[in-house]
């Protein structure tokens, strides 16, 4: 196995070095940091740094703001991921329908928000959601509904951010699900048709089971991405109103770079990692136990 040893290390070395020094090392250092009381004083004079064990973690678990940030993030993930993937699946099914025309145009149009800059489109949506001048409320008024203070009412702020995130991201999974739909063997549909299955039956008995592995994969990627909510509330609501859109990463950012409590902020980052890891693990288990995968 060492036939091309020297050349291989020269070629693979730079990338591996970058990943080791600027990712692996900081991750380990972050774990160590979360066990210290690193704060603004330690930033100036590292000798004041003390090892505090799990105190940061215990402290966080007793902080109401941490639970609020976790609750908001879970709200965003638990509602946002199904909404996003549901939209992706609906769009993919429409595009793959034999009745669909102008497929390339529709596919590109539906995908466009994915490549846009989150901050810039969040700025646009902030104006579209404006209570008085926003076109969303004017659209609602046109069909006789009362205006909603989308970003100023703590009950509506998170739904508004979820709608924005779904709008921005559904195109990505749409492309993946579209490829999965196209990979379903035609014969399966033919066989179902011969057995007298209607369109809905064929969807439930052929399409859905064939899509399950892709849906689980897409689900894991999306859950992990949605747990990292930050730019949207930073731009649209600044975490408000009444901290209703304050996320885990927002908490990490504020603790770390506003108050310079880097020990505490690292503990937030690791708790977020643990939550993402557990969620992915549960979803993988779900895939393994799904019918047809045994």
């Amino acid at each position: 196995m060492t036939k091309h040893g020297a050349a291989a290390w020269i070629l693979a070395g730079p990338a591996l070095l970058v990943i080791a020094v600027f990712f692996a090392l900081p991750v380990v250092a972050g774990l160590a940091l979360s066990l210290t009381d690193f704060d603004i004083y330690a930033l100036a004079d590292p000798s004041t740094l003390r090892f505090v064990g799990l105190r940061n973690y215990l402290h966080l678990l007793q902080t109401p703001l941490f639970w609020q940030a976790l609750g908001n993030t879970l709200y965003f993930v638990v509602v946002g991921v199904p909404v996003s993937i549901g939209l992706s699946l609906a769009a993919a099914l429409l595009l793959e329908s034999r009745f669909a025309r102008w497929q390339p145009f529709f596919r590109t149009s539906l995908f466009a928000p994915v490549v846009t800059t989150a901050v810039a489109v969040a700025v646009i949506w902030r104006y579209l959601l404006h209570t008085r001048y926003g076109l969303v409320n004017q659209g609602l008024a046109a069909i006789g509904l009362a205006p909603v203070d989308w970003l100023g009412d703590p009950h509506w702020s998170m739904p508004a951010i979820i709608a924005f995130a779904a709008w921005k991201n559904f195109g990505y999974n749409m492309i993946i699900l579209l490829a999965a739909l196209q990979a379903v063997p035609r014969e399966l549909y033919e066989a179902a048709r011969m057995d007298g299955a209607g369109a809905l039956r064929r969807f439930a008995d052929v399409t859905v089971p064939m899509l399950v592995p892709t849906l689980v994969l897409v689900g894991i990627l999306t859950v992990s991405g949605y747990f990292q909510l930050f730019a949207e509330p930073y731009v649209m609501t600044q975490g408000g109103p009444l901290r209703s859109t304050f996320s885990m990463l927002y908490l990490m950012y504020e603790e770390g770079f506003r108050w310079w409590n880097l020990g505490n902020a690292s503990a937030v980052a690791f708790l977020l990692f643990i939550v993402i890891f557990c969620a992915s693990w549960v979803m993988l288990r779900f895939d393994r136990d799904a019918p047809g995968r045994r």
């Binding site: 050349a7 990943i19 900081p26 539906l110």
Partner: protein, 273 residues
């Protein structure tokens, strides 16, 4: 269902979805051409009553948007050049060269994908501080210089290169690095375009790391500058729309130009993964 009705239904729904994705982007363009204050009148105008480039003049004259545009261009180009080089060489080595611990190492890399990047951000900031890399372009590109996703993408692609081709070059007396430069690189060209567009878009659209590492106003990238400006200029709707156009348009055009390569990378990175 009646086929004619089905055609209308499917295409009507697709058109409604496309309208909902495109309308905000088109309205951004339209509002950026409205005179200051024009978009906050009732009913809110869809098209500019009297189109003007005044917002763009203010943006580049008064707020230093030209500077942020150059920062974004330089940082994204630099990150793309470095990461394409590093991912290309590493991806090829993992696909075609044999070295001790190769497969185990690759499994570790894939496993590392579950760790969110933000876990590394705080310590990375502390590491870069004594190195003098805070508030430098170098500091901004550091986490993007190589990626597991990029290495994986190249590896998948490079495995398709026939071994006979490499052996033939070796028999002719070429060393491994020469084989890579003269035989492999030309064959990897299609994946270079894919890697480059992913890397450029990723770097251009990135927000949290540049927000942390570039605290000096003159070094801000477009997203960081826009986020800051939109907090200061909450009332200047049209100006902010012009700022959004400047931020979004370059990547949107790049995507339209390299759409095929982008979609291939997206599918290779998720479906086969």
């Amino acid at each position: 269902m009646n086929p004619r009705l089905a055609v209308w239904l499917v295409n009507g729904l697709l058109a409604a979805l496309a309208a909902s994705t495109l309308f905000p982007l088109l309205w951004m363009l339209s509002a950026s051409l409205m005179a200051p204050g024009a978009s906050t009148s009732l009913p809110t105008p869809i098209l500019p009553p009297s189109p003007t480039l005044a917002n763009y003049r203010t943006l580049f004259g008064g707020t230093g948007m030209g500077r942020y545009l150059i920062n974004s261009l330089l940082i994204a180009t630099l990150a793309t050049a470095v990461s394409v080089t590093f991912n290309l060489t590493a991806g090829y080595a993992f696909a075609k060269l044999r070295f001790r611990g190769r497969d185990a190492l690759f499994r570790v890399l894939l496993g590392a994908l579950v760790i969110p990047g933000q876990v590394a951000m705080l310590p990375l900031f502390l590491m870069l501080k004594p190195l003098g890399l805070i508030n430098t372009y170098g500091g901004a590109i550091v986490p993007a210089m190589a990626s597991v996703f990029g290495i994986f993408l190249v590896r998948q692609f490079a495995r398709g290169i026939p071994d006979e081709l490499l052996e033939a070059a070796r028999v002719d007396g070429a060393g491994e690095l020469r084989v890579f430069a003269t035989v492999v690189v030309p064959l990897l060209k299609p994946i270079v375009a894919t890697l480059a567009v992913f890397s450029f878009l990723g770097s251009w659209n990135d927000f949290m790391w540049p927000l942390i590492v570039l605290t000096d106003d003159s070094l801000h990238t477009l997203p960081v500058a826009l986020a800051g400006l939109s907090r200061e200029h909450v009332q200047d709707n049209e100006l902010m729309m012009a700022g959004s156009v400047v931020t979004v348009l370059p990547v949107l055009l790049l995507f339209l130009a390299l759409q095929r390569q982008y979609m291939e990378g997206l599918l290779a990175g998720s479906v086969k993964g």
